[in-house]
């Protein structure tokens, strides 16, 4: 996992809220799956929002694929993001929701439509194109969101607790799907999770946050062996 230019670099980034300040400084190599873990309020979502462009840092610099992205709008960054919920527009059918990933003005060619079909096939939802999101299960909706990320084809994929609303069986299915898609595409994936089993089954490396600081940026094996921090111990269940 040693690449010349890191996929993401946060240099001395600070975000100030009314009552707290978060500080991030890290480099993330391209091509791996990175689990982002830590207690609630430790700053995981803010970290992803900074990278995606939903939050602006008060200080410091964010570089994606070697480029400073300070002036780039969220849609202009080489990033796709999937949220825990509400990833789809409920009033638009599955095809249209995916199509927005190709062209935000929805001017789609026949080729684009084939790409949508193909994406649906890859996430295992052949024939779902005309369905409306409310008629799908939670897992199916997240698969549609993944399909949209596939057609958008950005080098980075940010997932903010994408499986949180799913039951254990579906979680396992989604993990497998994500693993497969990653094996084919080799995108850099950052995924927030609260579950050690997600980390163990998916991640190549782990970013661990505690009270607004990154306290671990390790490969999976090294992370699992750490016993030097109470917050990490609590997360891994090493009581």
């Amino acid at each position: 996992m040693t690449h010349p230019a890191p996929a993401i670099e946060l240099r001395d980034v600070e975000v100030r809220f009314e009552t707290a300040a978060l500080n991030f400084d890290c480099a993330i190599a391209a091509g791996g799956i990175v689990a982002v873990a830590g207690a609630s309020g430790s700053g995981k979502s803010t970290l992803l929002h900074l990278i995606a462009g939903f939050e602006d840092p008060d200080r410091g610099e964010i570089r994606i694929l070697g480029e400073n992205v300070a002036d780039r709008a969220p849609s202009e960054r080489p990033v796709s993001m999937i949220f825990q919920d509400n990833n789809l527009f409920a009033h638009l059918d599955v095809e249209t929701n995916i199509g927005l990933g190709i062209d935000p003005a929805l001017r789609l060619t026949a080729l684009d439509r084939r790409r949508i079909e193909e994406a649906l096939r890859r996430v295992g939802l052949v024939g779902f194109g005309k369905r409306l999101p409310p008629t799908l299960s939670g897992g199916e909706r997240q698969r549609v969101a993944l399909a949209r990320a596939l057609v958008r084809n950005r080098p980075l994929l940010l997932l903010d607790e994408p499986f949180a609303a799913l039951d254990p069986g579906m979680r396992a299915g989604m993990r497998t799907l994500l693993r497969e898609l990653h094996a084919e595409e080799r995108k850099t994936i950052l995924m927030i999770t609260h579950h050690p089993e997600d980390v163990k089954a998916l991640a190549d490396s782990v970013l661990f946050l505690d009270r607004g600081r990154i306290i671990a940026n390790d490969t999976l094996d090294r992370f699992l062996e750490r016993r030097d921090n109470a917050a990490i111990d609590r997360f891994l269940g090493n009581a």
Binding site: G53, F54, P134
Partner: protein, 541 residues
């Protein structure tokens, strides 16, 4: 934060709307408050104004007292009986006065309580010679209770229905008697709602125009609003209109201030949506009293409406339908209603969006916060200047430029649009906030903006609340008499104005038919505008 140019444009558009709003209201107020010339230290003049003010406050106080006292037992009875045949229809009946043009309600009340009405016929039949007159204080109080009791009762009922089901189970478990239940569970809830509900009713009654115009008589039973109208339209006495307007603004201003400190804004929750099982009220006496209150409320509200229906159907509807005056009035009303509703909804939507955009960044400037605050305040501040006062201001402003009737359409549309603003804001703001929370980041990350976002994302998701707001605003405008009364002329006759003039010229059959038509029209729009979201398709997605 993101899509900077579009955000700037949104804020600029919102600021423009706010500016137009402030200018329109501000100019009217300045026009009224700056012109303090004329005969003002006349003793007769003072006596008249003092009498009108006293009556305004007296009738508003009594109306509020009666409405609230009537509403409490009705709400309690309805809360205690979560299931009985026709309950849902009674609740719908209680929502009707909200959308009923005031004039139509007044006509119905006259049919029941008037000299030739149901009540006096009964009294005569019983051999009681002295008829009860609906004109004067009695009629004004009656009409205000008719319109405001259901409003207060619905607010109280919503509060009572928010009491958690566990309370009733615990109370039943402890064996609390009915009186203890009222004292310890129901009354604390009602007491919390009382200032808000009473304040709202008082405000509505103190600024009541149409009812007092129809049912009041002479200076003995005239409110400030009606006196302003009479000063401008009949006596042409601008100094008096100005003095009265200043008084009205001061009064509503004090009321608004008082309300803000006294009361939280009453929440109108979903009534009758969920059934909470009640274990109390099983004794004979409480069954009988609940039944009695529910029956009285039903008869009181339904009788005038049925009267409007019956006498309306007796009228020569075919002749009315062929009457060119009716056609013209309908077209005028429709055009004014559509224009003002569109203006109101557009303004509200732009201002809500601009306020949200300005306060979106993590570190908001005090300027942005002030901007959002001004927008939030403006929608309730319009209550400070009732339509007639607003109209009076513009009447005086435009008079130097020739016949005010020329400006009538624009002014009436603007006044109606502003009147609807608080209601439109209340429908749109929560829906737009939810929509933004749900889709804001997603649309930004996909880069959907401008017209594409309106077309694919915003309009489809907000279609329902937008149409609701539009519909409600149209109902308000269709039923309005206040703005039209000041500016109306031969060239601009709306349906309510036509109805009012037919009532005045004793063409009662025509009036009854028109009332039925106007009432139905407004009710349809109100029902569309307030319909609870029946099928909840939009789950989580």
């Amino acid at each position: 934060m993101f899509a900077l140019r579009e955000n700037r444009m949104t804020v600029v558009a919102g600021a423009a709307c706010l500016g137009a709003f402030v200018l329109f209201v501000g100019l009217a107020i300045v026009a009224l408050l700056s012109q303090t010339g004329g005969a003002s230290d006349d003793a007769l003049f003072d006596a008249y104004i003092w009498r009108v003010t006293r009556f305004t406050l007296l009738q508003a106080t009594l109306s509020t007292l009666l409405s609230v006292l009537f509403a409490i037992p009705v709400a309690r009875a309805l809360a205690r009986r979560p299931q009985f045949f026709g309950r849902i229809w009674l609740l719908r009946l209680m929502a009707l006065p909200l959308g009923l043009p005031v004039l139509v309600g007044a006509l119905g009340l006259i049919e029941i309580w008037g000299r030739q009405g149901f009540l006096n016929s009964g009294l005569r039949w019983l051999g009681l010679a002295q008829p009860v007159s609906i004109y004067g204080l009695f009629g004004i109080l009656l009409a205000h209770v008719f319109f405001n009791m259901p409003l207060a009762a619905r607010l109280f009922l919503a509060g009572l229905e928010r009491i958690p089901a566990e309370y009733w189970r615990s109370a039943a478990n402890l064996g609390m008697p009915s009186r203890a239940l009222f004292r310890f569970i129901e009354w604390p809830v009602l007491r919390g709602l009382l200032p808000g509900a009473a304040g709202l009713v008082f405000m509505l009654c103190a600024t009541s125009f149409t009812l007092v115009l129809t049912l009041g008589g002479g200076p003995a039973a005239s409110t400030i609003e009606v006196a302003i109208y009479q000063a401008l339209r009949f006596d042409f006495d601008p100094p008096r209109a100005i003095a009265l307007s200043a008084l009205q603004i001061t009064m509503t201003g004090l009321l608004l201030l008082l309300l803000r400190h006294l009361a939280t804004e009453p929440e109108e929750g979903m009534t009758g949506g969920h059934t909470v099982r009640r274990f109390d009220g099983m004794s004979r006496i409480s069954r009988v009293s609940d039944g009695a209150w529910i029956t009285i409320a039903f008869l009181f509200l339904a009788a005038p409406l049925v009267a409007v229906l019956i006498s309306g159907l007796e009228a020569d509807l075919l002749k009315l339908a062929r009457d060119p005056a009716v056609h013209r009035a309908l077209l005028t009303s429709a055009a004014i209603a559509l224009a003002s509703a569109l203006a109101s909804v557009t303004m509200a939507a732009v201002m809500i969006r601009a306020a949200a955009t300005a306060t979106a960044p993590r570190h908001t400037t005090s300027l942005a916060r002030g901007f959002a605050g001004a927008i939030a305040a403006s929608t309730s501040l319009i209550l400070l200047v009732p339509p007639v006062v607003l109209g009076a201001g513009w009447f005086l402003l435009l008079r130097p430029f020739g016949d005010v009737a020329r400006f009538a359409p624009a002014i009436v549309v603007a006044i109606n649009a502003l009147m609807a603003l608080p209601f439109v804001h209340r429908i749109l703001a929560p829906a737009m906030a939810t929509h933004a929370a749900r889709s804001g980041r997603l649309t930004a990350s996909l880069g959907i903006r401008g017209f594409d976002r309106l077309r694919w994302i915003d309009f489809p998701a907000l279609r329902k609340p937008l149409l609701m707001a539009l519909s409600f605003a149209m109902a308000l405008s269709l039923g309005d008499l206040g703005a039209v009364a000041l500016f109306g002329s031969q060239d601009m006759v709306t349906l309510p104005w036509l109805l009012y003039s037919r009532m005045g010229s004793y063409r009662t059959a025509d009036a009854a038919g028109l009332a039925l038509f106007l009432g139905l029209l407004c009710l349809i729009f109100t029902i569309l505008g307030t319909a609870e979201n029946g099928r909840r398709r939009e789950g989580k997605a």
